[in-house]
Structures are given as structure tokens and as C-alpha cells.
């Protein structure tokens, strides 16, 4: 598996240069890695499905328990089949989907390949951090693929929203993982699931995990990013936003449900949010006029259903979840790819514009009918198998079960309704609308869209195959009575009644669409999730502005006051906790210290009364030299030498800078008003440091071991008789290397700042010159274009675009 992931990533690196040669066929090359992975995984399927998970790991930092651990079990296998199978199809489709001469082919192919590898890693990861890294990688790929080349404001906004929302969830997930792993004492997902911890911190962790899953799988209230992300090309939507990436949240729920399915903090929010998403987003799908938007809301709705099914951690529900997971990946990718075909061949995907396409594109239409039938849960398709199991799971029992069952039936009804709406919108003939012009799509576009739809039928008809793939994923879950088996027909019973009710009810809902729309009414603006998102983002911006405005006031005395006060308060708190007074108190070690100290004090005092900046700088230098002299007296020649040299250099630098300043300090005005406050802070801080250094020096009771050892080992181990030097370049050489790196960075930064300030201010461009007639118009048009874009963006924000 490591190899398979690596192949994806390496291939991605090769694709970019290849794209220059191969053009759009680079997608076919990119399809190789998921296709080969699929084949290879299927050869391993036998033992994995019979319960022998296949593990791999590489030590990253094994001593602290960090390793990249992968484990392919039945659930991972199901997801892998979905991810790699759809991935290969989508990539082949993409080769025919791109318009000739379209740019960015190489980077798109490379990103899709990276995404495929990351998704593969996500579903086989067995280490929480490995899982998290792949999780975020898929988020980043989604951001880049939705944003495209960044030239459209709409795409940029959608991609940023997708990134912000899913990264927020990702961070919550990371925190949840850390809490969970801490409580369980292991980073291995399989071990956490095998021995689930419990306690209040675990409940918090579970909520955080749910937040991660909900953002990734676009559940209410995080869902608006998914319809927004529909600005991406159809294949990207089909792969990332229907089949693979949005399933990551469901996968996470399914992965941890066996351990936490009975914990209320886990299943209650999952069922509530999932059920609400299922019904609400289905209703929004009924309102949509854009085919892809309809499908996107449909995806949110279906993901809600999956959330309910997989989160409860019960065997029949999990079987239903597994079957629906597969079914949804197949029919939704087929529908997205079909929507892409329509969009590409007719130039529109608006329900109100498309008309009479059923007759002109019979193959595509029949494929979509098949996919929608699977979505609606008609026999003998995979969707039916899944829904039967779902209804069965909640058929017997308690009030909660009945409520969930009712929710599922209503959700299925709406699903049927918007499924028919999709077919009618895409292929139906509308009254008063001329038949849409369409170019016949190439087989390379049709085939990848057909295959998943047909696969849904195959999996539905060949239930033993489905059972073999799905049933092991629910191994070890509580069955509750006689174990359920995935099959097409279980005899007449409640599930069949529910199915019939859902299908007929759905048809009725579709017929009564105008009524349904009126019944829905309007959601108050404050409750719109999109408005909420915008408010949070602009609020954060505002907060950042305000904090920066308050904190970065641009006053050096202000900054110094803050620093000094924090020194006094923070270290003062340390002192307040009790430091013994020194017992061998004395005024000096060496009488020479007294005149030197007086000298330093006088110099420091005169700095304050200096009127000229230059005098003040020189006096500061005198203070520094005086301290250097104190070092000499204390017997630290190395320190003293460095002090003298640095002091000299600082003086020179000061003199350089002073050339730009007025000779005298400014007096009066605000400076005078703040003088006493500044003086109080400065003398307070000075007095504190003096007292503190005396007190702290008393805290050491014995000669430090390190110093003795340094002195003893300098000669034999570092080959140096100068202990200071031995410490600098040998014992603590890592510190030295780090410090000089900091010095280099600081110097480079300072130099850049100074040089940037010196750059000539840009002169306003003169109007069109006769000498260079071609250039100025091009330059003039560039800013106006960007202005337009900004204006456009602002206008869109003011409208408060809501999905």
C-alpha cells in the first residue's frame, strides 16, 4: 500500500513535464496508478475480506511512537475499490472532457493523482496522525482543484470557503485524535477501536471527531461549501465532491462507530445532524435549477443518510451504510459525469434551458435513468439493496428507531423526487422551450459515465458479490437477533412497504413541486448557513483589524512599556512565590567594582539628561564599556572582549542611523505629557531587575555540576583549554549553529527592510508614449481588469449570495 501511494505521488511529479508532450492524454497516464492499484488490491481481497487485515508501517520517529501505519481491512478495501475505480474512470473521462488547447492540463492531472494517492492513504491509514495528514492533503487538493487557475472570482471564493471550512474541521479532528489517543494510550486506530476508552475527555474528543466528519462530508451547518465547490469542472466534482473526498467523513464515522456507536455524545449528534441534512438538503435540491447544484444538494442529503446509517454502530445499519456508500459513489459519480457531458456538449446545465435532450442523447439518458433508479431505490439496483437494509435496521423497536425510520422514509421520498427532477430537467421536453442544440458526445465521455451506472445494476443483481464486499465491513458489530444478510429480496415485510411508500411518495412530491416549494417558506436570513459563514469570516477579519490596531500602535515607548511591564509582572509572580534571601550578602567581591559601578551609574544618569541624540548614544556606549570593564574585573575576558566589540559596532550602527535624525531630541507635546509615566515604568523595571538578580543569585545553593564538568572535560574531550570556547563550539555547538542561523536571518531581514524603504517610489506612468506604442495600453488594461474583479467581488458579497 505504501508503494501504491508512493506511485501516485511520483506519477504526479512526472505528469507535469509529460503534459507538455502529451497534452490531454496525460490524464490517461494519470489513470494508470488508480487502475493498477485497484487490480492489485482486488488480488489481495480474499484474505482481507475473510478477516486478515493487511498491515504495513514505516518508522518515522519510532522512539516517540510516531510511525506511518497502514492497515487494509474490509472497510478500507470497500473505500479503496470506490476511490481507485471511480478515480480511474474520472481521469479517463477528463481526457475527453478538456477542450482542445485548454491550459493547466498537467497541473490538474497531477493534482488529481496526488488526491487519489492521498485518498488511498486516508482510507488505509491506521495511525491517527497518518490519517490526519492524508485528510488534510485531500483538503488541499480540493482547494487547488476548485480554485483552478485562480482567474475567476467565484472559483476563488468557493475554494477559499471549502478550504476554511474543511481545515477548521481538520483541526478539530486533530485535536479529537490527540485527546482520543491520549485516553487510549495508543496512536493506532485499530487498537483504539478494539479497546475504546471512555470518560469526559473522550466525549469531547468524539464531538471534535464529529465536527471533522461533518465539515468534510458537508453536513448542516457546514454544508454551503459543497454547492459552492460546484464551480469546479464536472470530473472534479464527480470524483472529489461525490465519490471520494466527501466520503472521508462517512468513512471516519464508520471507522469509529464500532467502538463508540453506543456513546450518546457520538450517536445523538450524528443522527440529528445527519437526519436534518438528509431532509433539508433534499428539499434544497428540489429548488435548484442548476443540474450540478441539484446534484450537490442531493449529495449533502445522501451523506446525511449515510451519517445516520454508519454512526449508530449497529450491524444491519452498518451493512446498509456500506451498501449505500458503494451505491452512492457509483450513481452520483455517473450523474455528475453525465451533467458534465451535457454542460460540455450544450453549453448549459440550467434546467430551464435544456429541453428535448432525451431523444437526442438516448444512451446518456438511459444511463442516467439507471443511476437515478439506483438512487431512488428501485429493484434490482444496488440502491434498493441498501435502502432495504436501512429500513430493516430501524424496523423493530423503540421510539428512537421509529423516528429514524420515519426520517429515512421522508428522506427517501425527497430523494426520489429530486431524482425525477434531475431526469426531467436534464432530458425532459419542456413546454414552450425549443429543443436544445447538442453535439454528439464522444465515446470517451459517455463510457466512463455509463460504467458506474451499470456497475450499480450489476452489484444490485449479483447480491452475493455485494454481500462478499460489504458484509465483512460490519464484522464484530452487535447484530441484535438473527444476523441480517445483504440480498435483493427478503420477502414481504416492513422494509418493502417503506420502499414502496418512499417511491410513490417521492413521485407525488415531484408532481406537487410548486406546492412543496410554497410550503417550505423562507428561512430567516440569520439562519442561512452561508450568511453565518460570511459573518464569521468578516467578523474574524474585523477582530484581526481591531487587535492589530490596538496592539501595533507604532510607538516605540509604547512597545517598550509593554515589554518592561510584562517582565516585571511575569517574573515578579515568580519572585512572589518565594525566593530565599542570600545569606552571604556582601556589597562587592572586588573593590574595583565600586568605582566602575559608579561610573556606569553616572553615565546612565547623564543619558537621560542628554539633549542631543549623539551625546545620548555615546553615553549609552559608555555604559556598555563600563559593564565590559566589570566583566574584566570578574575574570571573564572572553565575555568582556565580546562586550567591547559589540558595543563598538552598535555605536557605529547608531551613528549611521543618527544621520537621518534631527540632532536634538524633540520636547513638548505628547512626549512631555507621557514623560512621568514612562519614567515610572522605566525606573520600576530597572529596580525590579536589580532586586531580582540579587534574589535569583541566592537561589543557587551549590556549585552547578554542569560548570564543573565543562571545566573538567574541555581539555580531554573538546581539545580546548578555553572552556568558554569549548562550550561554544563543542558542548553546545548546536546552540551556536542555531544562533548564527538566527543572526543570518535577522541580518537578511534587516537589510531587506532597509533596502525596501530605499527603493525609488514608483513614478506614475506617463500617458501613451510615441516610442513604445504597444506597451502602455496593455499595462493600462491590467489594473482596470483587476478593479473590475474587485468590484465584482464586492457586489457579490453585498448580495450575500446564498445557495
Amino acid at each position: 500500500m505504501l508503494l501504491a501511494i508512493a506511485v501516485h505521488l511520483v506519477l504526479a511529479a512526472v505528469l507535469l513535464p509529460l503534459a507538455r508532450r502529451l497534452g490531454r492524454w496525460v490524464f490517461v497516464i494519470a489513470a494508470l496508478s488508480p487502475a493498477v492499484t485497484l487490480g492489485w488490491v482486488l488480488t489481495r481481497a480474499g484474505p482481507v475480506l475473510s478477516g486478515e487485515a493487511w498491515s504495513e508501517s514505516i518508522g518515522w520517529a519510532p522512539r516517540i511512537g510516531l510511525e506511518g501505519a497502514l492497515r487494509l481491512d474490509a472497510l478500507g478495501l470497500l473505500m479503496t475499490v470506490l476511490v481507485t475505480g471511480i478515480g480511474a474512470l474520472v481521469l479517463v473521462y477528463y481526457a475527453y472532457y478538456v477542450k482542445p488547447g485548454e491550459g493547466g492540463v498537467g497541473s490538474t492531472a497531477a493534482l488529481l493523482s496526488v488526491f487519489s494517492g492521498a485518498m488511498l492513504g486516508l482510507v488505509v491509514a491506521d495511525d491517527v496522525f497518518t490519517l490526519y495528514i492524508f485528510w488534510e492533503l485531500t483538503t488541499l487538493c480540493s482547494f487547488l482543484l476548485v480554485g483552478g487557475n485562480g482567474s475567476r472570482a467565484e472559483a476563488r471564493r468557493a475554494s477559499v470557503q471549502a478550504l476554511l471550512v474543511t481545515v477548521l474541521g481538520g483541526l478539530a479532528l486533530l485535536l479529537g485524535f490527540v485527546l482520543l489517543a491520549d485516553a487510549a494510550g495508543t496512536y493506532r486506530v485499530s487498537e483504539i477501536v478494539a479497546n475504546p476508552p471512555s470518560g469526559p475527555s473522550v466525549n469531547v474528543a468524539l464531538i471534535l471527531l464529529l465536527v471533522g466528519a461533518f465539515t468534510k462530508s458537508a453536513q448542516v451547518p457546514f454544508h454551503p461549501w459543497l454547492p459552492g465547490a460546484m464551480v469546479a469542472p464536472a470530473p472534479v466534482s464527480a470524483y472529489l465532491h461525490a465519490a471520494a473526498m466527501v466520503k472521508a467523513g462517512i468513512y471516519l464515522l464508520a471507522r469509529f462507530a464500532p467502538a463508540f456507536g453506543d456513546v450518546p455524545a457520538w450517536w445523538v449528534p450524528a443522527v440529528l445532524i445527519g437526519g436534518w441534512s438528509m431532509i433539508f438538503a433534499g428539499y434544497r435540491a428540489l429548488l435548484a435549477t442548476d443540474l450540478k447544484e441539484l446534484l450537490a444538494y442531493g449529495t449533502v442529503s445522501q451523506l446525511g443518510m449515510l451519517t445516520v446509517l454508519v454512526a449508530v454502530g449497529e450491524r444491519t445499519a452498518a451493512l446498509a451504510g456500506g451498501a449505500m456508500l458503494l451505491a452512492h459513489g457509483l450513481f452520483k459519480s455517473a450523474l455528475f459525469l453525465a451533467a458534465g457531458v451535457l454542460d460540455r456538449q450544450t453549453g448549459s446545465r440550467d434546467i430551464r434551458e435544456l429541453s428535448g435532450l432525451g431523444r437526442r442523447m438516448p444512451v446518456l439518458a438511459s444511463g442516467c435513468v439507471l443511476a437515478v433508479a439506483s438512487m431512488a431505490g428501485l429493484p434490482p439496483l444496488l440502491g434498493f439493496v441498501g435502502k432495504e437494509a436501512a429500513f430493516e435496521a430501524f424496523a423493530p423497536g423503540s421510539v428512537v428507531d421509529v423516528l429514524i425510520l420515519a426520517g429515512l422514509v421522508i428522506g427517501s421520498m425527497i430523494t426520489v423526487a429530486y431524482g425525477i427532477r434531475f431526469l426531467w430537467g436534464a432530458f425532459g421536453t419542456k413546454r414552450g422551450q425549443p429543443a436544445t442544440e447538442v453535439r454528439a458526445p464522444p465515446a470517451g465521455l459517455l463510457l466512463p459515465a455509463m460504467i458506474p451506472a451499470l456497475a450499480g445494476a450489476v452489484f444490485g443483481a449479483a447480491t452475493p458479490l455485494t454481500a462478499a464486499l460489504v458484509e465483512p465491513t460490519a464484522r464484530g458489530l452487535p447484530a441484535g437477533g438473527e444476523p441480517y444478510h445483504v440480498a435483493l429480496w427478503h420477502g414481504f415485510g416492513l422494509p418493502v412497504v417503506a420502499s414502496v411508500l418512499a417511491i410513490t411518495g417521492g413521485f407525488a412530491v415531484f408532481r406537487a413541486q410548486p406546492l412543496v416549494r410554497r410550503l417550505g417558506g423562507r428561512l430567516p436570513g440569520a439562519l442561512h448557513a452561508q450568511h453565518g459563514y460570511q459573518r464569521v469570516v468578516t467578523g474574524l477579519d474585523d477582530l484581526a483589524h481591531r487587535v492589530t490596531g490596538r496592539v501595533q500602535v507604532g510607538s516605540l515607548p509604547g512597545y517598550l512599556s509593554v515589554i518592561l511591564l510584562s517582565v516585571v509582572l511575569v517574573s515578579g509572580a515568580g519572585l512572589a512565590s518565594g525566593v530565599p534571601l542570600p545569606d552571604d550578602w556582601r556589597w562587592w567581591d572586588n573593590p574595583l567594582q565600586v568605582p566602575l559601578a559608579l561610573f556606569v551609574l553616572v553615565a546612565a544618569g547623564s543619558v537621560i539628561s542628554a539633549r542631543r541624540r549623539f551625546t545620548a548614544v555615546l553615553l549609552t556606549g559608555v555604559v556598555g564599556y563600563g559593564i565590559g570593564a566589570l566583566f574584566v574585573v570578574d575574570g571573564a575576558p572572553d565575555l568582556a572582549l565580546a562586550q567591547f566589540l559589540v558595543e563598538s559596532l552598535v555605536l557605529v550602527v547608531f551613528v549611521f542611523v543618527l544621520r537621518r535624525f534631527p540632532a536634538h531630541f524633540t520636547h513638548g507635546g505628547p512626549v512631555r505629557a507621557l514623560r512621568w509615566r514612562n519614567a515610572a515604568i522605566a525606573s520600576g523595571a530597572g529596580a525590579f531587575v536589580a532586586v531580582a538578580s540579587v534574589l535569583y543569585s541566592a537561589a543557587r545553593r551549590h556549585a552547578p555540576v554542569a560548570s564543573r564538568e565543562y571545566a573538567a572535560r574541555a581539555e580531554p574531550e573538546a581539545g580546548a583549554t578555553n572552556v568558554v570556547e569549548a562550550i561554544l563550539v563543542d558542548f553546545r555547538a548546536l546552540d551556536t549553529v542555531g544562533e548564527i542561523a538566527v543572526l543570518a536571518i535577522a541580518a537578511t531581514g534587516a537589510a531587506s527592510l532597509i533596502l525596501a524603504a530605499q527603493r525609488e517610489p514608483r513614478q506614475p506612468e506617463p500617458e501613451v508614449e510615441t516610442t513604445s506604442g504597444a506597451e502602455p495600453p496593455a499595462e493600462a488594461s491590467a489594473p482596470s481588469a483587476s478593479e473590475n474583479e474587485v468590484a465584482e467581488e464586492e457586489a457579490a458579497e453585498q448580495e450575500g449570495v446564498s445557495p
Binding site: P637, F656, A718, N722, L728, A733, T736, A747
Partner: protein, 193 residues
Amino acid sequence: MTRQAGPRATEPDASEPDATAWRDWDTPRDSWLRTDDARPGWKRSVLLEVVARVLFPTVLALSLYLLFAGHHDTGGGFTGGLVAGLAFVLRYVAGGPAELSAVVRIRPPVVVGIGLTIAAAVAIAPLAFGTEPLTAAVAEPVVPVLGKLKLATSLLLDIGVYLLVVGVVLDLLRTLGAGIEHQRARDRAEEEG
């Protein structure tokens, strides 16, 4: 920069073997004093310039001494680098940017980079010998004339520090010194119109 081109540049046959005949070996290759006034608005002190030029090699020699003596005596890469940097500061203060560019032909960030590279290489090199990073080795070769020497590989680290500090000081001179001068010249030019 209108500094007169030094004799080195005007000697066309410098590369030919005959060019360095025994009579010419001590011909100065650089002008002893600048003949132009590179810094308008700044009084030129010939005395200071000459003293700085005379002292310059001595101070550099002192800095090298400090660098190598560090292992057994007061000194080390940091102090050595600072002393060398101050030597350049002296030249700059005496004669301005032209004086500095007469002795430094390499760009300061490159010096910083070389210093950091040497230090990092010294840090990593022990890995190639299967020991932990930053492990120092001590050798005691007997060199003719100098006698028995005690050399530690950590001296290389010190050389890296030395170069880096010199580079940082030169960078300060380049930006704060010459840069601000440039700015002042521009301001003056603007005032004059």
C-alpha cells in the same frame, strides 16, 4: 562610483609570465589613495584614510589570531569576526563606500551564506562517519616550523561563525551605511529640484 581604475586593470599583460619580472613584483597593484572625491558633502580626512589603510591589514591579522587562538586563549570565531568587521568599519568611516568597495568585491549576503554553509556542513559531516551530528575530532599533526599543533574540527565551525559575523557587519555597512547615504543624496537632489 568614479574611482580610478587600478593599475591591475590597466596592465594588459598581467597574465603573461614576463609581466611579473623581478623588478615589478613590488609595484603597487592598487592606487594608494583615491584621487577623486567620492562623497560630496563630506569632508575628506586624508590622515584618517591613510591611518585606516595602514592599520587595516594589522587588524585583520589580529582577527585571524583571535580566531585561531580561541581554542586555548581569549578569542574565538565570534570575537574574531567582530574585529575583522570593525576593520571594515574603519575603512568605511574613513573613506566611505568607495573605500569599502576597494577591499570588498564580494557581496555581503554571499559571505553570510558561505559562513552558514560551512557551519551547517561541519554540523552534518559527522553523520557520514557514523557518529552523531556535531561530534568533534581532535588531531595533533606535527607541522614543520610550527611544531606540534592541536587542531579540532570544531575550528571549522568557528571559521563559519567568523565568516558569518564578518558578512553581517558588511551587510550592515552596505544597508545602513551606504544605503542611507544614497537616500540622503537623493533627498538632497530632490530639494535642489
